[in-house]
């Protein structure tokens, strides 16, 4: 790593896949990515190039960092959990051991950790649980009581139930279809868990609708929500302005904030959930620089 990259706390490496295995509906990849592992914190992500140097698929794909081992046998490794949904993710899950993938990371803001050993609830929807185990370990190291709620549409879309039982003080599982745990949504058991543990922070990662309801429940029960969002990203490094969402700043004003550099972790009560609608986010009328009537 160059001195610049150390200072910048980000690097770009051609990573070798050293392990890849199926876990339910997902593919779990381990990449040798020296530099990334040493710099990363829970909640940050990596951006992977798709299809090699001459690929017509130009834009990078972002994945939460599931785990890092800064000094493994192969040098630093980074693990990700991938759900194959389109061209890019299909290419990534098809990589075999010893294939290479160009990786940029770590990117974005990590989950902020509480200064006091308060109880925390970690909520993961589908592969959204991927970054939470690492977070759980760090929280417990600080003396926090940690419970986890894992939810998904069905059992095969849950990720890390066994690991959760090993790494947390309590685990609750929900599925939409009842194929595992209790039938329903992650927000159903959440009030009881917050009340029972007197949780101060609820961390969430998963689909936007879920993050909104986690924020609502946390607020109603006196906890702070910290949520990791997922927006379409063209660059992942803060230069294109595609990944924005309306977020309230420290000055109380709403701005279209870049989720790749100012996020992906935002305080839930700062996100303008009222502006989201079926995959679109409007610019709220009171946002800084919002289009004026009859203007631009």
């Amino acid at each position: 790593m160059s001195e610049r990259q150390l200072r910048a706390r980000v690097t770009q490496v051609v990573a070798e896949v050293i392990a890849t295995r199926r876990v339910g509906a997902y593919q779990h990849l381990t990449l040798v990515a020296p530099g990334v592992a040493e710099l990363a914190r829970p909640g940050q992500f990596v951006a992977l190039a798709v299809g090699g140097e001459t690929s017509g698929t130009l834009l990078r794909r972002s994945f939460s960092i599931h785990k890092v081992s800064p000094s493994g046998t192969y040098g630093g490794t980074v693990e990700i959990v991938v759900s194959a949904v389109g061209t890019g993710t299909r290419w990534i899950v098809d990589r075999a051991p010893h294939d290479t993938i160009d990786v940029v990371g770590p990117l974005g803001k990590a989950f902020p950790l509480p200064t006091d050993p308060v109880a925390c609830v970690l909520v993961g929807g589908g592969y959204g649980s991927a970054p939470l185990f690492w977070l759980a370990a760090e929280l417990r190291e600080r003396g926090c009581h940690v419970e986890m709620v894992l939810g998904a549409a069905s059992e095969d879309r849950l990720f890390g139930v066994v690991e959760a039982r090993r790494s947390c003080d309590g685990v609750t599982v929900t599925t939409d279809d009842g194929s595992a745990g209790q039938q329903g949504w992650v927000s159903d058991p959440l009030p009881e868990i917050i009340e029972r543990t007197k949780a101060g922070v609820v961390y969430g990662c998963g689909p936007m609708g879920m993050l909104e309801s986690i924020t609502r429940v946390a607020q109603a029960h006196g906890a702070v929500a910290q949520v990791a969002v997922e927006e379409s990203m063209a660059c992942g490094v803060g230069v294109c302005m595609t990944c924005v969402m309306p977020v309230v700043g420290a000055d109380g004003r709403t701005r279209m904030a870049r989720s790749c550099v100012e996020g992906p972790v935002f305080r839930g009560d700062r996100v303008r959930w009222d502006s989201f609608d079926g995959g679109h986010a409007r610019v709220p009328d009171d946002a800084v620089g919002a289009p004026k009537v009859g203007g631009h």
């Binding site: 610049r4 990259q5 910048a8 706390r9 980000v10 770009q12 190039a49 017509g56 698929t57 130009l58 834009l59 990078r60 160009d102 940029v104 927006e231 379409s232 063209a234 660059c235 490094v237 803060g238 230069v239 294109c240 302005m241 595609t242 924005v244 969402m245 701005r255 279209m256 550099v261 502006s275 079926g278 995959g279 679109h280 986010a281 409007r282 610019v283 946002a287 800084v288 620089g289 919002a290 289009p291 203007g295 631009h296």
Partner: protein, 316 residues
């Protein structure tokens, strides 16, 4: 070793012809984590308007074959914040800056240029790029770049605001019937150079939801997929210069450059400098990589000076 230096006017000799493209590199800090932005010939900043702008709603992008569609809507901090924060930072790291300015009326362009001129960091500026692909409020939102009269008016007003040793580059849109007519109008109005090309207007429909994929409905197409359009536009305008229909001024080529070979293609068509835009999203250090590759290619082909390769494909 190939001499890569180039003079784009105003006596500012750039160490090399490689630049970022406006809107594809933000205002420097983000890419400075990957390479030294002072290593570029010049750093081109995101088009800035008079006031802060939120830009459009999301989704703001769609991937396309070898490229993408974007509808950002010129999100930015406004010119005051730009001259207070961004320009001084670029100056502090030793970057040569080609600020891109925009407006929704010709007077807004002039106001932005005047504010830039008054900046304490103006020393870092080696030229100003005028993004005329903006809707003109006075003409029912028709973009300036599609109207030779409106384009000329903007360029003339901006030219008046800036010192003579600061070259003004008009950035042209390829979405016109005859790009040489717009180029001629801009040069006649005082443009000291041209940047070609801005994005092409496109649209993608999400067939799962059966609705336009972008929040802004239409967007700008960019990336390697549009490179032949850039080569054609540069070629046509350079040809018109050879024929004496347009005064000869430097052309900054942009559009689909991903490798040194791509850059050389635009240079051979007539570009005296090269901007790398969308390729940065694929490889954050693309501008310096393209420079290295271009240098190796020129060397391998026996060019001693970069400038000897400019427009060589004409008349061959």
């Amino acid at each position: 070793m190939v001499d890569l230096s180039v003079d784009l006017g105003g006596g500012h000799r750039l160490p090399n012809p490689l630049m970022t493209a406006s809107g594809c590199a933000a205002n420097g800090r983000e890419l400075h984590r990957f390479f030294d932005v002072a290593d570029l010939g010049a750093f081109v900043t995101k088009s800035v308007m008079a006031d802060p702008r939120s830009g459009r709603g999301t989704p703001r992008m769609a991937e396309t074959p070898s490229g993408m569609l974007n509808s950002i809507g010129l999100q930015g901090p406004g010119i005051e914040a730009f001259v207070d924060e961004d320009l001084p930072w670029l100056q502090s790291v030793g970057a040569r800056v080609l600020p891109s300015i925009a407006g929704s009326s010709s007077t807004e362009y002039a106001h932005v240029a005047a504010t830039l001129r008054a900046s304490r960091a103006f020393d870092a500026v080696i030229g100003v790029e005028v993004n005329i692909s903006c809707p003109n409020v006075a003409n029912r939102g028709l973009v300036f770049a599609c109207d030779p009269l409106a384009s000329a008016k903007v360029i003339a007003l901006v030219r008046e605001q800036l010192p003579r040793d600061i070259p003004v580059f008009a950035k042209l849109s390829p979405d016109v019937t005859d790009i040489t007519a717009i180029a001629a109008a801009c040069v006649k109005a005082g443009a000291d150079g041209l940047t070609m090309i801005n994005t092409l207007l496109g649209m993608v429909i999400d067939t799962d939801r059966m609705r336009p994929q972008l929040g802004g409905v239409t967007g700008g197409l960019s990336g390697p997929g549009i490179r032949p359009v850039a080569v054609r536009a540069i070629w046509q305008v350079r040809q018109a210069m050879f024929e004496g229909r347009i005064r000869t001024v430097p052309i900054i080529g942009v559009g689909g450059v991903r490798t040194g070979r791509d850059a050389l293609e635009l240079v051979a068509a007539g570009a005296s400098a090269i901007q790398v835009g969308t390729a940065v999203f694929n490889d954050p250090s693309a501008p310096v990589r393209v420079l290295r590759e271009l240098c190796e290619l020129l060397d391998a082909k026996g060019f001693e000076r970069f400038t000897d390769a400019v427009a060589v494909a004409h008349g061959r």
